[in-house]
Symmetry: C2
Subunit: 364 residues, 2 copies
DNA sequence: CTTAGGATTGAGACCGGACTCACATCGATT
DNA sequence: AATCGATGTGAGTCCGGTCTCAATCCTAAG
């Protein structure tokens, strides 16, 4: 073996220069491919570099170019396929432009996010993509702006921070899908989300997640437009972990005036909700209708396949990364931002509510 | 606004030192919390730092400590929840020890992996976690070893590279579950995987993925031990994309001597296989039995719930990251490596094969 | 045969911290 | 009072590159 396990001192430009019998400056130029270098020198330097297995130290390079070719990504939960897919869009795009990605998971904790942002800034990333845990407490994001480092938001907006945000228009898709449910006869439509809130839900309250606020607004508007009262007792936030979600689902379906349709705010929640529905011995859509956000492949596999609100998550990742990189490189937008629209994919989990059938039977 | 959008020059120790009227060295000591500093100086420096909003440049710090507090992670597909979960284990563990994670996705391309490893080495990460796309072509991993930088493998082993590998023993779980299928009466057991191969499968051939090799070995052994012939025509590798997998599934289930059970090599493959089965109008487990690797939550939601081979993916991530960090910090292992065992979770997707029923009816 | 002007080249500054080293300072020791 | 060890302190080097600047080398124009 030519090497042992211990870390050997790295080969530097100086070493290469010495071996090629040229100055450090010339070696650096040949290696870095800048400035004027004669063919003779270039050849010798490159040969020496090859021979010594020279590898540039990107840290040193970054330090005086001020560019690290790295972007920082801060998400709430990489385990969630939603972010996994967005991440894929980001890394694919970053790689294409020669950037690397540092990923930090915050577990949706604002404190962790504040920390993450600071660490990334300290590491001198060239720009940041953040899916803010809170749309309200955004001072740390404002600080990023003030540091002058490019920032772009994913999934959720941040009030008071003037940056590009890549997310679908939740209000309109929520309106549309709620209208769809109302049209199917539903009046008792529940909404389950894990956004943490201090107090139980009351209409119009400010929420940490702009996404959820927008969705609730959409639901609200759909009810208003249909001239119907808004069943805000069925809005269940702070749903917590899987067990808690199952319990909430049972509550929603039990009681004197149960929900006839449930909207799950994301794929993870959906799993627990559907599970609880099945455990209760109820069937979709005969006993309860079901609608969820995010179109994961497995939603086609259940019986019945689930009606979902599909978001172009991968494209959102691409758009966010592209915009960020464009900004880092000081280029102007080459055109309008790509439209990121959510679509309602009707499969089999929405039907008429049970009481409606009873009514129509009674009526007929 | 106190600041405009342009990148302002960063505040350095020198600036802080000047403001605190001490030498750069003293300021650095107070800030870096090392060496001897009088209370008076420390206070003044800290106050000045606060006032100027000083933030250390981690790049500069890394450069002369030789530590970046960063680990590189190279995986094939972060979109795959398997890796998403492992990633979660890695980032959680890294954060706890003060490390950050640079993630590179290779799309299971070896060339991209070679590149990824080189980039990370150039960025002077303190260590690497790699899920090798190929267990056979491993020279780039060998180079990591030779560079002296700590390396740890996830999910797949690499022949010829002597490093810790964190993966479950695929051979034994594959044996166990195949035996289970055989016992249920199955003889025509298909195995579908996306590992790329140059030639169609023949028993004992070397595969890029040690995981898949081990699984096939397990299947083989189970058949041997049962004194049965090994249906290697049902081993379908290089399965490709979703469409291709669906086509393969149809092939497997059509023809004169169809498979009576299908094993899907991972969650993504499983989706397409199950979909194809459903499209064919066949039902699980009456017409075909089904078994898959990875226990995702949605597998409990299908009808019937799917029998799976659960791997402790999150724990694998934790174990890999812990071991790597231990190695980076030169500490000895504090005990035996945690056991990473896969388990067969029997739910409802395995039944008796159809022809067996026919036979027994005919016999009875 | 000069000589202007571009191509090459090397010395050395610099990026922003960490760290060495020589030089105070100061209370405690004998 | 002289000595000693333990702090404190600042000047300056170093990490490994990039980049400026002045000096040197050519080559073709005058």
């Amino acid at each position: 073996m030519s090497t042992d396990g211990s870390r050997r001192r790295d080969v530097t430009v100086a070493d290469v220069a010495k071996a090629a019998k040229v100055s450090k400056a010339q070696a650096a130029r040949a290696l870095g491919n800048y400035g004027a270098v004669s063919d003779d020198v270039r050849e010798r330097v490159l040969a020496a570099a090859e021979e010594l297995e020279y590898r540039p130290n990107e840290l040193a390079r970054s330090m005086n170019t001020g560019k690290s070719n790295t972007i920082g990504v801060v998400v709430g939960d990489i385990e969630n396929p939603h972010f996994g897919l967005a991440m894929r869009g980001i890394t694919d795009t970053a790689k294409k432009s020669g950037y690397n990605v540092i990923l930090i998971n915050t577990d949706e904790e604002r404190a962790a996010e504040v920390d993450a942002v600071r660490v990334l800034l300290d590491k001198r990333v060239d720009g940041l993509i953040v899916a803010p845990a809170s749309s309200l407490e955004t001072s740390h994001l404002q600080q990023v702006r003030e540091s002058g480092r490019p920032l772009v938001l994913l999934d959720r907006a941040a009030t008071g921070v003037d940056v590009e945000t890549f997310a679908v228009d939740m209000g309109s898709i929520s309106y549309e899908s709620t209208a769809h449910l109302i049209e199917a006869g539903h009046r008792r439509i529940a909404f389950v989300s894990t956004v943490r809130t201090d107090a139980p839900y009351v209409a119009g309250m400010k929420l940490d997640s702009s996404q959820i606020s927008d969705r609730l607004d959409g639901i609200h508007r759909a009810f208003d437009d249909a001239g119907l009262p808004y069943p805000s007792d069925l809005i269940r936030l702070s749903a917590g972990d899987a067990d808690s979600i199952r319990r909430i689902t049972r509550e929603l379906l039990g009681g004197p005036d149960p929900a006839t349709a449930i909207i799950a705010s994301d794929g993870l929640i959906a799993l627990s909700v559907v599970e609880a529905i099945q455990e209760s011995g109820l069937s979709i859509p005969d006993d309860v209708s079901f609608l969820m956000y995010d179109d994961f492949a497995w939603t086609r596999l259940t019986t019945p396949p689930l009606t979902v609100i599909a978001q172009p998550v991968y494209d959102m990742g691409i758009a966010a990364a592209s915009a960020l990189i464009r900004r880092i490189e000081g280029r102007k937008s080459t055109g309008p931002a790509p439209e990121l629209v959510a679509t309602l994919i009707r499969r089999g989990s929405i039907g008429a509510p049970k009481d409606a059938e009873v009514l129509s039977q009674a009526g007929g």
